[in-house]
């Protein structure tokens, strides 16, 4: 993020590409995509992306590796039992904070 021009360019690229993906079919296409493989591909994209962005980044996000591991385990367990988004988030962040405070105390 060295300079304002680069940041502005990056934001424009992100927003522009995203907008075009949404606008082109809404404006120009009126036909459905029937290709089963392609539809399935698009269906699985979010799961692959979210998983790849979360792991291994979550382990180092809080500061110390130990806090990241505790937070990740906490989040996975809460999510496995289908707790709500906020409960999973607060539980993991709280666990990370407690770990960081404990590590900081030593």
């Amino acid at each position: 993020m060295s300079n304002a021009g680069y940041v502005a360019g990056a934001v424009i690229v992100m927003a522009g590409v995203t907008y075009l993906i949404r606008a082109v079919p809404l404006v120009f296409f009126r036909k459905k995509i029937t290709n089963r493989w392609f539809r399935s591909f698009l269906h699985y994209v979010p799961y692959a992306v979210l998983s790849a962005m979360t792991f291994p980044s979550i382990f180092t996000a809080a500061g110390h590796l130990a806090s990241g591991i505790v937070a990740a385990v906490c989040a996975i367990v809460l999510a496995y039992f289908k707790k709500s988004l906020l409960v999973v988030a607060a539980g993991a962040a709280g666990a990370a904070l407690v770990c960081e405070l404990i590590i900081g105390a030593f």
């Binding site: 993020m1 995203t18 493989w37 591909f41 992306v49 979550i58 996000a61 988030a89 904070l97």
Partner: protein, 237 residues
């Protein structure tokens, strides 16, 4: 005229639950990217102009890393490609009075949740309804990032770091429950995580660290999942 007003109101009402959910996730986004050095107003601007979660987070990470624009563009394209399909089916549900300018405006607000509500509504969709539906989530998503960013600039560093975990935890909350019930999703989640670990820690794969890594993982994993587990006739899309 009153017809349009009623449609707009109904749309807005249906968008309120999405607005609240977006506020929380975007707040976590704001805290996370501010912990990485992005100013609060930029977090808000990115949220307002992108209105996506995974896509803008990946893009912001790449921007922080100083990636080339082409890398940011391709990553954004792949990650957000599913909106293409959503816009496509939405296109057929918009009523015939919906002209070019309205279509261009509605395009801004096609997200997973807005799409789901719009498709679930039944009947054709008026532009007034869509504008009402999009407004709340847009406010929630933008203000959440601004507030998250501002909030984290007031907190001590140790708390900001821990709070940054919240966004990843939310991602986990999104992917784990369906992975538990659907082995195809479990495959996608596990395979993506495994390859991501390899790219991060195995020296040979270091070249894939960053934007191209996420692109490669997404394409390979989603393609393999689609090949192994072609979706049953997809719901309403």
């Amino acid at each position: 005229m009153t017809d349009k007003k009623t449609d707009f109101k109904n749309g807005f009402k249906n968008g309120v639950p999405i607005m609240l959910g977006y506020l929380a996730v975007s707040f976590a986004f704001g805290m996370r990217v501010c912990a990485l050095g992005v100013p609060w107003w930029l977090a808000g601007l990115i949220s307002f102009t992108n209105l996506t979660s995974a896509g803008q987070f990946a893009g912001t990470n790449l921007m922080i890393a100083g990636a080339a624009f082409i890398e940011i563009a391709v990553a954004t394209l792949i990650i957000n490609s599913r909106y293409f399909l959503m816009s496509l089916s939405l296109s057929q549900k918009l009523d015939s009075r919906c002209g070019l300018f309205k279509r261009l405006s509605i395009s801004y607000g096609v997200t997973d949740e807005i799409f789901a509500v719009a498709i679930g509504k039944g009947g054709s969709l008026s532009s007034s309804y869509m504008f009402g539906l999009i407004l709340g989530p847009c406010i929630g998503w933008t203000s959440g990032a601004l507030l998250g960013g501002l909030f984290s600039s007031l907190l001590p560093q140790i708390v900001v770091g821990a709070m940054g975990i919240a966004l990843y935890a939310m991602f986990i909350a999104i992917i784990i429950p369906p992975a538990k019930d659907d082995r195809a999703v479990l495959f996608a989640v596990a395979a993506a995580a495994a390859i991501s670990f390899c790219f991060a820690f195995i020296p040979v794969f270091k070249i894939f660290d960053g934007g191209w890594g996420i692109i490669i993982i997404t394409v390979i994993v989603a393609a393999a999942a689609a090949f192994l587990f072609p979706a049953e006739e997809a719901e309403n899309e």
